[in-house]
């Protein structure tokens, strides 16, 4: 069996005979692995250039691409039954709901009728302190 033939079928030894074999056809595991390594190298090299927006793209954009490659090619989500993708997306949707509900209180330190004095003071204090402290690494 080649890398391309991810049949998802253990008949004869596992006995459960997965869902009739997915017949996965796509890039080999080796190519996927090498692609992941190249993306890792880019995500590490990106911040060295020192451009903030480029760092964000190379770090988080590439993280999303790497996660997609691992999920689709290594976890075989691309050939798994769709219900599993929906299940995982539902879990991710709950995360967005959580973020949308909580983030305004955490990310902002003042609004129309309120002010989070403690948070703002901590930002001010830590910003001044961090300018005077060199990291050990």
């Amino acid at each position: 069996m080649s890398d391309h033939g991810h049949a998802h079928d253990h008949k004869g030894h596992g006995g459960h005979g997965h869902d009739a074999g997915h017949g996965h056809v796509g890039p080999s595991y080796e190519k996927t692995f090498i692609t992941l390594l190249v993306l890792l190298a880019i995500s590490v090299a990106g911040p060295e250039i020192g451009i903030k927006w480029l760092t964000l793209i190379t770090a988080f954009g590439i993280a999303i691409v790497k996660a997609y490659l691992v999920a689709s090619r290594f976890m075989h989500l691309n050939v798994e039954k769709k219900i599993i993708s929906y299940l995982l997306l539902a879990a991710v949707a709950f995360l967005f709901l959580f973020f949308a509900g909580v983030s305004p209180d955490v990310m902002k330190h003042r609004g129309n009728n309120w002010e989070n004095v403690a948070a703002q003071d901590e930002v001010d204090r830590a910003t001044i302190e961090s300018q005077n402290v060199q990291p050990h690494h």
Partner: protein, 191 residues
């Protein structure tokens, strides 16, 4: 008598594999909640990216551990490939390589934590380090758990028994890798 998880497939997906997907879905909420909390604090507190915060993490150690986990994920999928063709001994050997990757990861992480703690970066240093140790600690415990499961499976798999379990632990391991893929830029790159 074979376990129900191995023989029954009421949904068209073997019950054992479906169970692992449910575990992964619940883990998405656990790790995702933690990462989302970190992200909103990171965005609301610009000092997180400087000095004694994320500025003190060792990017190249994090990158090395990413390399290790990606390699072990590759090894896990190759173990699954060997199991698919009924080659238990090869699948078992590749499971060992995968667990070995996990061991390297944990050892490097231990060294990294030792260095950071000895420089005063403890879990109570500030909010960044609290997130750092909680997120990386929960992740490392998942790595250790995966290694233990692989070592338990090793003997059966080597004797060509229950080979479908190679895919199940593989999917769990890929998820652990996937979590690290997001932890790495959040904790090591975004400075």
């Amino acid at each position: 008598m074979r376990p129900i998880a191995t023989t029954r497939s009421a949904t068209g997906i073997p019950t054992g594999r479906l169970a692992v997907w449910w575990v992964i879905a619940s883990e998405i909420v656990i790790f995702g909640g933690l990462l989302a909390s970190y992200l909103m604090h990171r965005l609301g507190h610009p000092e997180f990216g400087t000095g004694d915060y994320a500025g003190a993490t060792a990017t190249y150690i994090g990158a090395f551990n990413t390399l290790v986990l990606l390699s072990s994920s590759y090894s896990a999928v190759k173990a699954h490939q060997a199991a698919e063709v009924g080659n238990g001994p090869l699948a078992a050997q590749r499971l060992l390589y995968t667990a070995g990757g996990g061991l390297v990861f944990v050892l490097v992480k231990s060294y990294e934590w030792y260095t950071e703690i000895s420089h005063g970066y403890t879990i109570t240093k500030n909010a960044f380090w609290s997130f750092y140790y909680v997120a990386a600690g929960i992740h490392a415990s998942h790595v250790i758990g995966g290694m233990v499961i692989m070592l338990i499976l090793y003997s059966d798999v080597k004797n060509n028994k229950e080979l479908q379990r190679v895919e199940l632990i593989g999917n769990y391991w890929h998820f652990v890798d996937l979590v690290w893929i997001f932890l790495f830029p959040l904790l090591y790159i975004a400075k």
